[in-house]
């Protein structure tokens, strides 16, 4: 193997390791569990259906025999069409930063089960056996939009302006724009016809910027999540060759009318705390790397923890509260008094609205980075105030 080949091997291993380390195995195991449950459920339903079909066949033969004679004698009654099947299903998000419940529209549940992708910033259902019956629905947490080579934070109006600008530049065709209310929140409903693919143009979550797929009918609904909070984008799209595309876009109303954000956490906002350097050192144990970092934090160690839309930025701050050294940006989600960090560690919040302690309530279930371990340890060690 020559030098280049050795370098290729090392590069591939390093890239694969980086990707492997950044995956949340606990979350992915939960996703797989749900998918296997769905397969088991479908299998049971299929078996039951086969039994029902066999029974129905027997009934049909009997029915035909009983009705044949009257029909032959001209006494048949006109048949009445059976109502079109309408199904829907309630859904409760498991990972999304702004937890929600909603009713999924029927088209998403027809035929083969839709592919589901869940993450803290992205919830996606994809009903795509072929282009002719393809359609997707997504709920996206939008931290910003791409501008040149960077990502710029936006609020609801900023995201609407960004999408409108795409329309003005001819990259998409906006056929209507209307204000609406979703879960009591201000929202903007854009109906769109996409033209070509526009990479990374549909807003960025925590790690990715979503692309706009070309040749589709789409509906983008931008929801205001409050002052300073990232907006949520609910969108649906279907290729124009899908004969049901327009109807499916209309049926997004079923989802929007039922959408409820259920877990806006009391922890949201900026907290501060002060520790002596000795307390900080005691909190992180004997990890040499963390001890070294704490030595550079000064004494006392002044900290801030800003919880916002699924990410807690833990930083060392100066006397005036300005950030001196960011330590780590911890992904988290909240449910009824508990913060669950991205590594699976659960913290129970105690205290009143202006003070908090974070008490460990379960170990980490995946290996966090040294920075994340340090930030989590300091989060637990300190008493926090708003």
């Amino acid at each position: 193997m020559n030098e280049l080949e050795h370098a290729v091997v090392a590069t591939l291993r390093a890239d694969a390791q980086e990707a492997a380390m950044s995956t949340d195995t606990t979350r992915e195991a939960e996703v797989l569990h749900d998918r296997l449950d769905r397969i088991d459920h479908d299998t049971r339903v299929r078996r039951t259906a086969l039994g029902v079909v066999a029974l129905a066949a027997a009934v049909a033969v009997t029915f035909a025999a009983l009705t044949l004679w009257p029909r032959l004698n001209g006494n048949a009654e006109p048949a009445t069409p059976s109502p079109a099947p309408t199904t829907s299903a309630s859904y409760a998000s498991a990972f999304f930063v702004d937890p929600f419940t909603a009713t999924l529209p029927a088209w998403l549940l027809e035929g083969t089960a839709p592919r589901v992708y869940q993450s803290s910033s992205y919830q996606f259902w994809n009903h795509c056996a072929t282009d002719a019956d393809c359609g997707a629905l997504s709920v996206s947490w939008v931290s910003g939009v791409t501008s040149a080579s960077s990502v710029v934070a936006v609020d609801r109006q900023g995201l609407v302006d960004h999408l409108t600008a795409l329309g003005d530049s001819g990259k998409i065709r906006i056929t209507s724009s209307a204000p609406m209310t979703v879960d009591g929140r201000a929202a903007t409903d854009l109906r769109v016809q996409t033209i070509d693919d526009v990479n990374g143009a549909l807003g960025c979550g925590s790690v990715a910027c979503q692309d706009i797929g070309g040749g589709s009918l789409a509906r983008y609904v931008v929801i205001d999540m409050g002052p300073g909070a990232a907006p949520v984008l609910v969108w649906a799209d279907a290729p124009t060759q899908n004969a049901h595309a327009a109807g499916w876009m209309d049926q997004l109303d079923i989802f929007l009318r039922s959408l409820r954000f259920t877990g806006v956490g009391a922890v949201e906002g900026r907290w501060t705390a002060t520790l002596t350097a000795e307390q900080a050192r005691a909190a992180v144990g004997t990890a040499g790397q963390s001890q070294q970092r704490i030595a550079g934090f000064g004494d006392p160690v002044r900290l801030s923890a800003t919880f916002s839309s699924g990410f807690a930025l833990v930083s060392v701050v100066g006397r005036d509260g300005s950030v001196v050294t960011p330590i780590a940006n911890l992904p988290y989600r909240t449910t009824q008094g508990q913060v669950t960090l991205g590594d699976g560690q659960r913290l129970t919040i105690t205290g009143g609205p202006s003070t908090a302690r974070f008490v460990p309530n379960g170990p980490a279930t995946s290996t966090p980075s040294p920075q994340e371990q340090l930030a989590a340890a300091l989060l637990v060690a300190a008493s926090w105030a708003r």
Partner: protein
């Protein structure tokens, strides 16, 4: 499974398909996400491709002649899934930008220099088939015959793709140097 007790490489599979797939998931999930991420450009899709591979394994468990072939089945499913993803890219395409606080090992830290970044980018910019050959050859350490079998092409085709890929990488690295 009929294997020797002394053979520690043989995993004792649970009796049920679900138990076996779950056990395989815990052992191979991270590695497979790494493999998928070498073939597609965003992490979320890599994770979904791996999920699909495990789902497919579960659906087809009863058809596996040898349960110990499951790992190879997963590897192949990820490669096929990645190729399918690249081909379709229907609706949920996305690209990654660097995430603050991503955990990296000491080994990775040492490689994370400009040459690594340049070579990593060069591999990702290869035509898809060349990229597949590079990953299968240098990451999974497959022979040309195995790669040909996996990708459904001739050995000569694998050689051509490998030659073109390494030539492109060599040119890129020389230009960078």
């Amino acid at each position: 499974m009929g294997g020797s007790d002394a053979d520690e490489s043989v995993v004792a599979f649970p009796r049920t398909a679900r138990g076996a797939v779950t056990a395989l998931f815990h052992v191979h999930h991270r590695r497979l996400v790494g493999l998928a991420s070498l073939l597609v450009d965003d992490h979320g899709s890599a994770e979904e491709i791996v999920q699909d591979a495990f789902e497919s394994l579960y659906r087809n468990w009863s058809g596996l002649r040898d349960p110990h072939a499951a790992v190879a089945y997963l590897d192949r499913s990820v490669v096929y899934g990645a190729r399918s993803w690249v081909r379709r890219r229907v609706t949920a395409r996305s690209y990654e930008y660097p995430e603050a606080g991503t955990s990296v090992s000491a080994e990775f830290e040492s490689l994370r220099d400009q040459q690594h970044d340049e070579l990593s980018a060069a591999i990702r910019e290869l035509p898809q088939r060349q990229r597949e050959v590079v990953v299968l050859r240098y990451y999974l350490d497959l022979s040309e015959e195995q790669i040909a079998s996996w990708l459904g092409v001739s050995t000569g085709s694998v050689k051509r793709h490998a030659f073109r890929a390494t030539a492109a990488l060599q040119r890129r690295m020389e230009a960078w140097a």
